[in-house]
């Protein structure tokens, strides 16, 4: 070892002094006295929640994402709203009363005294008329126009009452239109003053909270509405953080930065077994549905026997165990348990039957098996599910190539307007969101949706006929049978292998009492302190 090129005595910088200085700097950085108080020492009147996206548009007429609705539902009012709990029910919100006079007429009476902030006055039946009719106005190009597709008009009877007139009966109105995105009531005066629609920020609110601050990509802050005359809001402020990644949100919760968040299915079991201090972990059934779809018009899959072979070669329990950590239950269709139209069972058993799959393939002229492409979104859970499908199906002689796509690429795979990619589409692992009425999920599989969202290109006249009938059917049992039959037709076509509805595990601090929909989605205005 050569000697250092200087003597300690000649310089002021010694090893000891250097190390001392470094240690002191590090200690200084970590000193609690520097304002680094524990993160949980926050004002309990501030509720901090995570949502999976950042609201883009907060005009209820043009907002179409759930995370936008979470904000809108807290700052606006609807005639009726979802009731927090484990059963899908609605309760009165801005309406004092509401009743179906006949299949196409709904009478409502508003509660008097609900005011819009910033001097836009009291909410009247004119505002209800304006809010709903603007959604079907072609000028607005509202993405939720379909929710009000059968609206003919809203006739104002007096200051507080009116009649919603439908062009034809529409049963989903009570569960997917009035209490959901399409039900928010805005001030006619305020929207007109804003030029027909709110830009980034609405100019007035009527709910228990108002939007105090918007920091895009960072957070949305809601504050108590001083003009609100209903049951007082429980929190001074609600901070909503847009965090796409569930793992990040979990760590944020464990660090004490969040009071409520959805967590990943892979973390659920561990969190349930050993929850962080002062927290509650719960699991809710989800409305999402995941399925393996097959393009019926692709030459390799045009033979029903091949499609059925694929159905039999997919082992649902393995997918649920490997990709969903055993937390999610198998699906029998697009309608989850607890809703009208849920099927108790499937035609093809959940467990794979390789012998049957091989026999069907041989019958279809593929005794040596078949090569197929499976398109999957590049998210961990879908990749894992895709890999299980690939590995298990190989045992039946179905050799799959997994193609991963980011969201942008994935969502145009079967879209005819985006060129010829749909022609090459063979198998696709798909997942759609839904609403608490079977109509919402059923609409994507009609003949008219072929090449739009119906990527399997499933065309069945009976399905279309039942779909139309079910929209108008008021008898719950009859509707139930209709939607069951529709899902049965889909499965019988061989183009669908329903996998799961997933699950929504959530975690929250025991300092709050969350108000959640039966699918675990937050109804922020009803959150309270414990």
């Amino acid at each position: 070892m050569s000697k250092p090129n200087m003597q300690f005595s000649k310089i002021r910088l010694s090893r000891r002094s250097f190390l001392k200085a470094s240690a002191a700097s590090a200690g200084w950085l970590m000193l609690p006295g520097l304002g680094m108080h524990p993160s949980w020492a926050q004002d309990t009147r501030v509720l901090r929640v995570r949502d999976y996206g950042d609201p883009q548009s907060l005009d209820p007429g043009i907002a179409s994402n759930l995370y936008e609705e979470h904000v809108n539902a807290a700052v606006h009012n609807k005639l009726i709203a979802y009731k927090p709990g484990t059963k899908w029910e609605w309760q009165l919100e801005a309406a004092q009363s509401i009743e179906q006079l006949d299949p196409t007429h709904i009478k409502f009476v508003l509660k008097p005294g609900i005011t819009f902030t910033n001097g836009f006055g009291e909410m009247t039946a004119e505002d209800v008329k304006f809010s709903y009719e603007r959604i079907i106005d072609p000028e607005l190009k509202s993405p939720i126009k379909g929710d009000w597709a059968t609206l003919a008009s809203v006739d104002v009877t007096d200051r507080y009452s009116g009649i919603i007139v439908l062009s034809k009966p529409f049963q989903p109105l009570w569960m997917t239109t009035l209490p959901y995105m399409g039900g928010n009531i805005v001030s006619k005066k305020a929207v007109e003053a804003a030029g027909g629609k709110f830009a980034a920020m609405p100019s007035c609110f009527s709910g228990p909270y108002v939007i105090k601050e918007r920091e895009p990509k960072q957070r949305t802050v809601l504050a108590r509405n001083p003009e609100w005359k209903g049951a007082p809001a429980a929190f001074d402020e609600i901070h909503i953080f847009p965090i796409d990644d569930e793992k990040t949100a979990e760590m944020g919760f464990e660090a004490g930065d969040l009071d409520y968040t959805r967590v990943s299915m892979s973390s659920y079991k561990n969190l349930k077994k050993k929850p962080p201090k002062n927290s509650v972990v719960e699991k809710y059934p989800s409305l999402y549905y995941v399925w393996l779809g097959m393009n019926m018009e692709h030459p390799k899959l045009s033979d029903e026997r091949v499609r059925r072979a694929v159905q039999y070669a997919v082992d649902i329990p393995s997918i649920l165990e490997a990709a969903y950590d055993g937390v999610a239950d198998p699906a029998t269709g697009y309608v989850p348990p607890g809703l009208v139209g849920h099927r108790p069972d499937t035609l093809v058993p959940f467990k794979a039957d390789f012998a049957k799959a091989k026999a069907l393939l041989a019958e279809a002229g593929y005794p040596d098996g078949i090569d197929l492409d499976l398109e999957v979104r590049n998210k961990a859970v879908y990749i894992a599910a895709g890999q299980v499908i690939q590995a298990v199906a190989a045992q039946a002689g179905i050799r799959m190539t997994l193609n991963l796509h980011d969201s942008g690429s994935f969502w145009s795979l079967g879209d005819e307007s985006k060129g010829d990619r749909w022609k090459k589409l063979q198998l696709v692992l798909n997942r759609f969101s839904s609403a608490p009425d079977p109509h919402y999920a059923a609409q994507w599989f009609t003949k008219e949706q072929v090449g739009v969202w119906n990527w399997e290109r499933f065309k069945n006249p009976e399905y279309n006929q039942l779909y139309e009938q079910a929209l108008a059917e008021a008898d719950k049992d009859k509707r139930d049978q209709m939607y069951r039959r529709m899902q049965e037709l889909m499965e019988a076509s061989g183009a669908y292998r329903f996998i799961t509805h997933e699950a929504v595990p959530v975690i929250y601090t025991d300092r709050i009492i969350p108000a959640l929909r039966p699918d675990g989605m937050p109804l922020l205005r009803y959150f309270t302190t414990a």
């Binding site: 200087m6 993160s39 548009s57 993405p143 990040t248 145009s412």
Partner: protein, 314 residues
């Protein structure tokens, strides 16, 4: 020097134009429809068509590129039609956050890396030098997202000393500083190693040069020789490294921004690419490209100012 600067700026403009055209082409070659992603399953074909028109995607590709470059030249990055806000406003708001993060990361990395490098050079081949060497290589080898995750687990989740998510309350500097510590630590740690190794190597070279030996012969104190004479020259490669490293820093910032749920230009680009929000992607890419080219130009100019031989090479 003026001629050098003019040439360097001219080159920078060409680089920006080429980079923007290339990136614009690449983004449009990737399959995917922004309308489907943004509007979701509720979108009708008419709505998608309308959206394409609004975004200018119905025009020929060349027209789109030329029109975009023209707008950029006028300082207009367009509108994010969905949030109805100017792209420039969104990008610069996010850029602030990223610049603060990058600056904080590189500052602490320099504050620790430069003394470590000097120390290693001065005490070369001693046990401490080897220890610093192992530490430097170690931290260079660990990806910043791993540091981010483990520091988050340890300091935020286990000890709960520091916040895990967000950028802090706006207007509250102390709170923002607390939110900055972990991400800056994660990004800067690797740079401590880089800088320490680089400073050590160049310092060793400089310490053996004639003017340093002459300074010693004059009996100047060793600290004056190291920090006053040697470091001035030994720091040059670090300046260059920092100039070219801005791109790497921004890409490290993406991970930190995702892990710590911080706003920033890296995350903005990532989210916008995923949602095919072309106006935002291009706005953010143009700004970060300009930033990268600008920092390289500045570091080259500083080099040229300090070392006249560099001017001859362009």
């Amino acid at each position: 020097m003026l001629f050098y600067l003019l040439k360097r700026v001219g080159l920078a403009v060409v680089i920006v134009v080429v980079a923007v055209v290339l990136l614009y082409s690449m983004i449009h070659v990737v399959p995917g429809d922004p309308a489907s992603v943004i509007l979701g399953p509720r979108a009708t074909p008419e709505m998608k068509q309308e959206l394409h028109k609004l975004m200018g995607l119905d025009r020929p590709f060349v027209v789109q590129v030329v029109s975009f470059l023209g707008k950029v030249a006028r300082g207009d990055l367009g509108m994010d039609f969905f949030s109805q806000r100017p792209v420039a406003e969104i990008v610069f708001k996010q850029l602030d956050e990223t610049l603060v993060l990058v600056l904080a990361s590189i500052t602490w990395a320099m504050l620790l890396g430069i003394p470590l490098g000097c120390y290693s050079a001065v005490f070369r081949n001693t046990f401490s030098d080897k220890l610093v060497g192992v530490f430097s290589i170690g931290v260079i080898a660990v990806p910043s997202f791993v540091v981010a995750l483990y520091s988050l687990l340890f300091f935020a989740v286990t000890l709960q000393w520091l916040p895990a998510i967000g950028a802090g309350e706006s207007g509250q500097l102390l709170d923002q500083a607390r939110h900055l510590i972990l991400p800056a630590f994660a990004i800067g740690l690797g740079w401590v190693g880089y800088i320490a190794r680089l400073v050590r190597a160049s310092m060793l070279e400089v310490l053996n040069e004639n003017h340093i030996r002459r300074a010693r012969a004059f009996g100047l104190p060793e600290t004056t020789i190291v920090f006053h004479y040697a470091l001035k020259l030994a720091i040059l490669p670090t300046v260059t490294l920092l100039g070219t490293g801005i791109g790497r820093l921004i890409s490290s910032a993406v991970f930190a921004e995702i892990v710590f749920a911080r706003p920033g230009i890296g995350k903005l680009i990532f989210d916008s690419v995923v949602s095919r929000n072309y106006p935002l992607v291009m706005g953010a890419v143009v700004v970060s490209t300009v930033l990268f080219v600008l920092s390289t130009t500045i570091s080259d100019s500083i080099n040229a100012m300090l070392d006249p031989r560099v001017r001859e090479r362009l």
